[in-house]
């Protein structure tokens, strides 16, 4: 009996503590999740709790190189317009949602047309950089891959020169009786600026190695036009035809990813 009485006492005590706890809990400020739980109970609806917001952080740093540019330069040795290209890039990723990208490259282009009456050799050499911001339209659906839309600003500084022979009908040199006139001109420190709309993707190949392709619609804002001859190439923009102001360009990149912020939510 004693045992039973004690048991009753304990039960009463437990009930009292429980009621006290409920009463105290009801005095505390009610959180959003608790409120929603009450709502679920009230309306009998199924509501998925919202995903916790992950603050924007620099999650990784990627270093890249465009392997196709040296390849194209190597193949161009077999053509009449030898070229030399390279491009490196770096990228900061924010939660695999935003990418801050920068690229720096070198370009040397030679063009020529050798004809009997008129001939020329054009050489263009310079550097360029490209800065941009991308948005991953896949959002948080993937940890590493991205399909992105972006904006770019690019600037090039280049030197170019031309030399050759131009025919001169009627104005034959009376001393040498030659009907061709040599010419040469050079312009250094020329500048060009353009903005681009970019679209592309980046995928994880293996481990920290990534591959990416980017297509851009480049729109020239301005460029220095030489007084003696036209600009034929702009480093990073490429071939510039007469009166051309925009063109499509593509870049291929291999990246290596260096994680900066390790957290379960970002991995």
């Amino acid at each position: 009996m004693r045992t039973l009485r004690v048991t009753y006492t304990e039960i009463r005590l437990q009930i009292a503590v429980t009621l006290l706890s409920i009463a105290m809990a009801s005095l505390l400020p009610v959180g959003k999740a608790q409120g929603q739980t009450m709502e679920v109970l009230d309306t009998a609806q199924v509501i998925v709790p919202p995903k916790p917001k992950i603050p924007l952080r620099l999650t990784s740093f990627r270093l890249g190189v465009d392997p196709t540019k040296p390849l194209i330069a190597g193949l161009s040795k077999f053509y009449k317009s030898p070229t030399d290209y390279w491009e490196v890039s770096a990228e900061l990723t924010l939660n695999n949602r935003f990418f801050l990208s920068a690229a720096y490259g070198f370009s040397k282009t030679g063009r020529s047309d050798i004809a009997l009456e008129k001939s020329y050799i054009y050489v263009n050499q310079g550097n360029y950089y490209r800065l941009g911001l991308d948005y991953n339209i896949l959002g948080g659906k993937t940890q590493y891959d991205a399909v992105f839309l972006g904006l770019r600003y690019s600037n090039a500084t280049f030197d170019h020169s031309i030399s050759g022979l131009t025919g001169r009908k009627y104005w034959e040199n009376p001393i040498t009786s030659t009907s061709q006139s040599p010419f040469s001109a050079q312009a250094n420190g020329q500048q060009a600026n353009w903005v681009s709309l970019a679209v592309g993707f980046k995928v994880r190949i293996i481990g920290g190695l990534f591959g990416g392709v980017e297509g851009r619609l480049d729109n020239l804002l301005s460029y220095d036009d030489s007084p003696d001859f036209t600009v034929v190439d702009i480093p990073g923009f490429g071939l510039l035809k007469v009166d051309q102001t925009s063109k499509y360009n593509f870049s291929y990149s291999l990246f290596y990813r260096i994680p900066l912020w390790k957290h379960a939510a970002y991995e």
């Binding site: 009627y170 993707f201 297509g215 593509f250």
Partner: protein, 177 residues
Amino acid sequence: MRKIVLTFLTVVTVCLWSSCTECDPISNPVTSANVTFYRKNSAGTGYEKYKKLVFASVNGIYERFQGDTLLATIVALDDTLLNSRVYLPLRYDADSSYFRFLLADLNTANAETLQIYHAKKLVINAPDCGFYEQYSEIEVKGSFFDSVNVLNPLLVTDTTVVNIEVFVNDSIPGNIE
């Protein structure tokens, strides 16, 4: 993701394939200034256009420096006369082209001269498709004609576009339109 990658690679390949640069056929601008002559009418109140001029010859004066000495040689400019127009070929190797118009009496004392100053630029037809000379900013200085008017300072592809109008007195024989 694989579908997206394959689609994008296909688009890129097609775009690259279609973007192979070829030589565009273009019409090069002329390299000769089109000069039209006008003569005072009989009343002396205005000018009327020559239908055909009768110059004995039109020559270029090839000026060049040898050290500090300016040398000049008369060079023949054949085929520059065409009906009422005279096509004066401009020099690419100099900033001006000097011309001498010899009247029909072959007296060099009656020769008229015209010096055309011009800017010039090489325009390359990319990629590797030759180039052409673009003459512009034509000015005429030192003319011994009555007066000269630059109508179009830019040489274009259309050979009928008149660049320079020259007004002369009625001493140069020719037919009026």
